[in-house]
């Protein structure tokens, strides 16, 4: 997709070409077998289609320079590095400051990572129709205003990086807990987010937040295999078998977060990574340093005053100081409009109420959460919690 956009400069056409390439792949590979490098094959086919469509459009469309046709696209041999460069370019196009920040993230999720509009809408807690309109409008602006498709110069890079980090992070969280559908996580999205985080880190290795984000992804993803049991049921941090956490990722993540913290003035991603690091360093749930985690959330709320952060802080508080403290912190947040349809708010309340042995109220909260989540694994988890209530 990214490679194709360089030729068409038009996201809609690029999408069409890629879909077409996939359709062709299914027929051709069925007859001739799968090529050695399927990705390169698809890109080549999509590029050829883009050039075809471009030629046809030239007749009809007045602005011919929509198209930057490269002569060198005929061969199927495309170096792996080129894919990386293309993805990096695409992410900077999607994260251009002439697009509204929310739109940048939405666009990258849709265009760079192939999330459906419904999934992107979910990640943003907005209606699908509103998200569809926003993405269409953004694609039109990219084409009309000719937003460049390139990695910015070193001097511009600092000003452009925040939006990119936001996108990579949202991509990761969307993949880590897929908001819609059957599977708890979408491994390919997580891997893409990790790839992108490494790429951006390669570009700016000394930036605290770039380092923090890579650490955050590594530490969170180290628990991937432990998050569901063999029956496919969701396991919380408390119930996960910590011996199955991925040790190499943890070691790499801890080293990175340490490096970022030592730089001083930790930003949002470094603080989130630090919180993940506290969990990674606890050999068992009972040994978690909750006071440290609450302290980190306090710092995080200063740099990132978001209702979801406040919700997580309240949960940490319920472990550091007990469920009543947690519940009153949650009650303070109950009027926030963004949290009112957020399933984790109801889960957190249910959890505190259950620990306070207020089972009837806990049941109501869990039932509300089960209604609000669209992830099947999470819903089953909530149903089993309701069933276990006394």
């Amino acid at each position: 997709m990214a490679a194709t956009i360089r030729i068409t400069r038009d996201f809609d056409i690029a999408e069409e070409c890629v879909q077409d390439a996939f359709a062709r792949a299914l027929t051709t590979w069925g007859q001739q077998g799968i090529p050695a490098s399927p990705g390169a094959w698809l890109t080549t086919v999509a590029r050829r289609r883009a050039i075809d469509i471009g030629r046809r459009r030239d007749v009809a469309v007045r602005s011919q320079h929509y198209l930057v046709i490269e002569d060198s696209v005929a061969g199927p041999e495309i170096a792996d590095g080129e894919f990386e460069d293309d993805r990096l370019r695409l992410i900077f196009t999607c994260c251009h400051p002439s697009l509204a920040t929310d739109t940048q993230v939405a666009l990258a999720l849709r265009m760079l990572c192939g999330l459906s509009t419904a999934e992107v809408a979910k990640a943003f807690l907005v209606k699908e129709s509103a998200m569809a309109a926003r993405i269409t409008r953004a694609k039109k602006k990219i084409a009309l205003a000719r937003i460049p498709y390139r990695v910015p110069e070193r001097s511009e890079l600092r000003g452009r990086i925040d939006a990119v980090l936001l996108v990579v992070h949202l991509l990761f969280t969307t993949g880590h807990t897929s908001p819609v559908g059957e599977n708890l996580s979408q491994v390919d999205l997580v891997e893409r987010a990790l790839d992108l985080a490494r790429m951006v880190h390669g570009l700016l290795p000394d930036d605290g937040e770039v380092t923090g984000l890579l650490a955050l992804i590594l530490l969170t993803d180290s628990r991937r295999g432990a998050r569901v049991n063999p029956e496919g049921e969701f396991l919380t941090l408390a119930d996960q078998d910590r011996s199955t956490w991925h040790r190499d990722s943890i070691d790499e993540g801890l080293a990175l977060v340490g490096r970022s913290i030592r730089r001083g003035r930790p930003g949002r991603f470094t603080l989130m990574a630090a919180i993940a690091a506290v969990h990674s360093s606890a050999p068992h749930w009972d040994e978690t340093d909750w006071a440290e985690i609450v302290g980190l959330y306090d710092l995080l709320l200063v740099v990132w005053p978001s209702p979801v952060v406040a919700l997580n802080r309240a949960v940490a508080l319920s472990f550091a100081q007990g469920p009543s403290a947690g519940l009153s912190a949650l009650d303070e947040l109950s009027t926030d409009p963004q949290l009112s349809t957020y399933p984790y708010m109801a889960v957190a309340r249910g959890d505190c109420l259950e620990r306070l042995e207020r089972f009837a109220e806990a049941r109501v909260a869990f039932e509300e959460a089960a209604m609000l989540t669209e992830n099947h694994v999470e819903r089953d988890f909530l149903r089993s919690r309701i069933a276990q209530l006394h």
Binding site: P97, S98, A100, T103, K140, K141, L144, A145
Partner: protein
């Protein structure tokens, strides 16, 4: 002689609901305007819709902040312009009145003369 910038404002939402025949008629109107006033015209262009616009606004510390959208959100948006040369405002207005401007209107602004 003085120069005037004639700004063409129109409601973009109304444009979106017109058919090709109507657009062709307006296009033709601009061609006729160009033929009639060619001697007075110093330039002019149609603009892409405001959704393609980007605004740069200086913040408190004097740095530009980039935002999506036109500088001012108005019902009738700037959609095109002509630069015309005329003896005085009355002459400029007389020329401007030949510009087709459905769903909106025109603004005639003198261009400052640097001495």
């Amino acid at each position: 002689m003085a120069q005037y910038l004639v700004l063409i404002y129109s409601n973009e939402a109304s444009w979106a609901t017109t058919d090709e025949a109507f657009s062709a008629k307006i296009h033709d109107g601009h061609n006729k305007f160009g033929e009639k006033h060619g001697a007075a015209l110093r330039g002019g262009n149609a603009l892409e819709p405001t959704m393609s616009s980007t605004s740069l606004r200086a913040n408190a510390s004097g740095e530009f902040v980039t935002t999506d959208g036109p500088f001012a959100e108005t019902k009738e948006a700037l959609g095109g312009y002509y630069v015309v040369e005329a003896d005085d405002l009355d002459a400029a207005i007389a020329i401007a009145k030949d510009i087709p401007a459905p769903f909106g209107g025109l603004e005639v602004r003198p261009i400052q003369v640097m001495s």
